[in-house]
């Protein structure tokens, strides 16, 4: 973990309200695992005051983040120029647990809802590097909000899409697509599910996984101040007491959580 003044190499709008930023932060790129995040200081003033957490979207020599403009911090971020420098603290959190692969077993199913795709591309890349059969399901409200389809397809051929309004892929919530995929792709192998998206979606997928006795790792979002386990602002209730989303998470085993 390091606090780095990183140069912005690229900051580009990639769709309705979505941006991709590439940052010159070799240390973080070298050490980050899929599912970890960084605390980024969006503003040089006291407005907004606190840093904002963003998942590590991809790594090469640099790190990439994928973000949605939802408020002051992300708005300011979207106006940053190439060459500007910003404070980036990372990598933070625990990251996903990747299974040990043995002849195709287990298989992984990645489920992304909306901006929840952000941490999952790097995960898909790492899983397939380990020769783990990986299926990706992407859900969004409508066609032009589907994120990262191409990037996922580079990692694995099995990418399925659903939109709430049916403008692209199958119609309905991604949980419906999940049901469908489970029916059509029976597997004799163990299945591990990785999911990031809106809270209701996480819960819904976690319930399906519990029925089927699949391991399910969810990426949780809580309001954060420090990002390093010092303020106790990001508590998550679990079966073994309070945990911290920033330090013990943001990835939790779904059946550990008290939803």
């Amino acid at each position: 973990m390091k606090d780095i003044k990183a140069r912005i190499l690229l900051n580009r709008r990639i769709g309705l309200g979505y941006y991709k930023m590439s940052l010159d932060a070799p240390y973080i790129a070298r050490t980050a695992k899929p599912g970890q995040f960084a605390q980024i200081k969006c503003s040089d003033s006291f407005e907004p005051l606190l840093r904002r957490p963003f998942s590590i979207h991809r790594v090469n020599r640099n790190i990439e983040i994928l973000y949605e403009t939802v408020g002051r911090g992300t708005e300011i971020l979207s106006n940053k120029k190439e060459g500007d420098k910003i404070d980036v603290l990372g990598p933070l959190g625990n990251g996903f647990t990747l299974p040990r692969a043995m002849n195709g077993e287990p298989r992984a199913i990645i489920i992304a809802g909306g901006i929840g795709a952000a941490p999952l591309v790097y995960l898909a890349e790492e899983l397939t590097k380990k020769k783990i059969k990986t299926i990706v399901l992407i859900g969004a409200k409508t066609k032009n909000l589907i994120l990262c389809e191409k990037d996922f397809k580079k990692a694995t051929p099995e990418v399925y899409v659903s939109t709430d309004d049916g403008t692209y892929g199958s119609q309905g919530f991604v949980s419906k697509l999940f049901h469908k995929i489970l029916k059509t792709t029976e597997s004799k192998f163990e299945t591990i599910v990785y999911v990031c998206g809106p809270h209701e979606m996480l819960k819904c997928i976690a319930d399906i996984c519990q029925e089927r006795k699949f391991e399910c790792q969810v990426s949780l979002e809580e309001k954060m101040a420090c990002g390093i386990g010092a303020c106790l602002g990001c508590a998550v209730k679990t079966k073994s007491g309070n945990k911290l989303a920033c330090k013990d998470g943001p990835i939790f085993n779904a059946n550990e959580l008290l939803w």
Partner: protein
């Protein structure tokens, strides 16, 4: 090089910059980001006799130039603290001050008695001012209760006692005097201001606890005024806290009368800020050709 050392009770600080309780965890959280031994003193997250779960989520919410928190003193209790946290803290090399809070005088007494036996603890900060625990008012809102809590702790320990005051009072000088009269070695002020925020779309409070404590740059002018008034009226050292983000803020508090300062919310935004403030103070003294930090303490120029 200018002399940065100050003294609070029996504690000799190599510089006047301390990390404030609840904003620096148990220091280990910052070990990769800060050279901990260079901090003037580290004040640990407030501990209580028994473990506390803390308040419901959400516990933090950002406001204009500040933040609200309602953590609710989540901690594992003193047994766990001594077993799990103290061994690391003892090795840091900066004075360790342990913040404690109790539901009544007995609990403060018991906590202090246990800490008194531990050599590597330099001092005890009495958090009688946390706004996030449910009880009838704060100890720090009542001169008599403040006096009694400090007195009870004074009886059991010779370690340096710092009494942490709440700004949510009409007469903070009166409370500070009560702490002084009961034998406190110093007072630290301020803890957070009662505050709240509401989401107008859902009409829900933005904090699970409905109300919480306001901290950050937005409270600085009020905190500064309180430090000024208290330090003029008591004879024990005052430690200034409230919205200190950089060396200039820290120096302002010292000119107003603070012998040392604590950095809170700023640690979240810039983990290395304490050390940066030490360096900034050094630079200021050099620039103004001041030999020792003591020369600026309370040295407010009010002549016209």
């Amino acid at each position: 090089m200018a002399e940065l050392g100050v003294k609070i009770g029996k504690i000799k600080l190599k510089n006047p910059v301390m990390a404030a309780s609840g904003t620096f965890g148990y220091a280990k959280e910052f070990e990769k980001l800060v050279n901990l031994k260079h901090i003037g003193a580290i004040i640990t997250k407030t501990i209580t006799l028994n473990p506390r779960q803390g308040n419901p989520m959400p516990r933090i919410c950002e406001t204009s130039a500040g933040m609200l928190n309602a953590i609710g003193l989540q901690n594992e209790g003193i047994d766990n603290f001594l077993k799990e946290k103290m061994p690391y803290l003892s090795k840091i090399g900066a004075p360790i001050i342990v913040s404690i809070s109790g539901n009544n005088i007995d609990e403060f007494f018991i906590l202090a008695r246990r800490l008194d036996k531990i050599k590597s603890i330099s001092g005890i900060e009495l958090n009688i001012s946390c706004p996030n625990i449910k009880c009838e008012g704060l100890v720090a809102q009542d001169t008599k209760e403040t006096y009694e809590v400090v007195k009870a702790v004074r009886k059991i320990t010779d370690k340096t006692i710092i009494t942490k005051l709440s700004p949510n009072v009409t007469d903070i000088v009166g409370i500070a005097k009560a702490a002084e009269n009961a034998g406190s070695d110093a007072v630290s002020l301020v803890n957070t201001f009662f505050g709240m925020a509401i989401d107008i779309d859902t009409r829900k409070p933005k904090l699970g606890n409905i109300t919480g404590g306001l901290s950050g740059p937005c409270i600085k002018p009020i905190a500064l005024r309180m430090v000024y008034e208290v330090s003029k009226n008591i004879n024990i050292p005052v430690i200034g806290i409230g919205g200190i983000m950089n060396a200039n803020d820290a120096i302002e508090f010292m000119i107003a009368g603070a012998v040392a300062i604590q950095v809170g919310t700023a640690n979240f935004i810039e983990p290395g800020v304490c050390i940066k403030i030490v360096k900034g103070i050094e630079g200021y003294l050099k620039k103004h050709k001041i030999e020792k930090i003591e020369d600026i303490i309370g040295n407010l120029n009010i002549k016209n």
